[in-house]
């Protein structure tokens, strides 16, 4: 079975993320159900190289909560609620439900995410990959 993929457009960069439907099935289903999602990102102030944007309450259960995130991991932060992109080095304080990972064009996404520390308000959209 092929992995479900979504587009993550951050400013001028567009990455493709693979969803962890096996590890976080409820979160993946809720995220897919909410597509497309749009917003503006803010850079994390505390944890490190992470950006996020607020969302509606997509679901209220936690799953696949891990502290040792990899660059490109996507998390749903129930307490926000918010979608997070863990794009680099960080010390996760309060884990989100990690539901996918950007596997294509991550360096471009990282460039934009890093820039958002100085330049807030960069737009983000998540949508289902065509085809």
């Amino acid at each position: 079975m092929s992995m479900q993929k979504i587009f993550v457009r951050l400013g001028e960069a567009e990455g493709v993320a693979e969803l962890f439907s096996d590890l976080a099935p409820k979160t993946c289903a809720a995220v897919l159900n909410a597509m497309p999602m749009t917003g503006t990102i803010n850079h994390a102030n505390f944890s490190g190289e992470e950006v996020s944007f607020p969302t509606r309450g997509l679901l209220w259960v936690r799953e696949n909560q891990i502290l040792d995130c990899q660059p490109g991991d996507l998390g749903y932060f129930v307490q926000g609620p918010a979608i997070c992109i863990y794009y680099g080095a960080l010390r996760v304080i309060s884990p989100g439900s990690v539901f996918g990972r950007i596997t294509t064009n991550l360096p471009q996404v990282q460039e934009v995410a890093r820039r958002s520390w100085k330049e807030p308000g960069i737009r983000i959209s998540l949508h289902v990959k065509d085809g």
Binding site: G39, T40, N42, H43, N45, E49, F53, P54, T55, R56, G57, W60, P71, Q79, G80, P81, A82, Y87, G88, A89, P107, Q110, E111, R114, R115, W117, K118, P120, G121
Partner: protein
């Protein structure tokens, strides 16, 4: 409870409409916060305290949601919820000009005492989402990058960024010293 269910539906719809407005734009409350002036005519303290106050209120609502989730059949949950919703009304209104938010709290407080655990949870979660968007808008007013630079200085911020795995590593040929050569603006991004 039948009557309160209809009123809850109405209030949830109102809060969700306010949330959607905050998603689409700044909203009247945030515009009013921007107009506040604190000591010496500046607006930094009023803005940062408004952000902190809203954050504290959200924590209180999250506490109510957690109680309602864990003790859905306890009758006292309605009393606790109503009190928690009521407490910040005056502060939000008089100190931070968050008039629309205060009005939502007032309605939630009036209704809260009539709700069962499941309805308290629904109302609290709706407010939590509202606060996620309100806090984002208030946070957008605060220049954290500039503040961090002013607090620590350009050089320290640049050196810390330089050791990031996605930044230029400290063992790069042009290294962190080069990164700081333009008053912090040459940070790789």
């Amino acid at each position: 409870m039948a009557g309160s269910t209809g009123r809850l539906d109405d209030l949830v719809a109102k809060i969700e409409a306010a949330t959607a407005a905050l998603h689409a734009g700044e909203g009247e409350d945030v515009k009013r916060v921007k107009q506040l002036r604190g000591a010496m005519g500046q607006s930094f303290t009023t803005t940062v305290f408004a952000f902190q106050q809203a954050s504290s209120v959200k924590d209180g609502i999250a506490f109510v949601a957690a109680l309602a989730e864990k003790f859905p059949r306890e009758s006292w949950i309605a009393t606790v919820a109503a009190e928690q919703f009521r407490r910040p009304v005056n502060t939000l209104r008089t100190r931070y000009a968050l008039l629309d938010t205060a009005a939502l709290h007032e309605e939630a407080a009036h209704l809260g005492s009539t709700l069962d655990g499941a309805d308290v949870l629904r109302l609290a979660r709706t407010l939590i989402v509202y606060y996620a968007f309100l806090l984002r808008r208030l946070r957008d007013l605060l220049p954290f990058y500039e503040l961090s630079v002013a607090f620590e200085g350009h050089r320290l911020v640049a050196e810390r960024a330089a050791i990031s795995p996605v930044g230029k590593g400290v063992d790069d040929a042009d290294g962190p010293t080069a990164l700081t050569s333009d008053a912090g603006h040459s940070l790789r991004n």
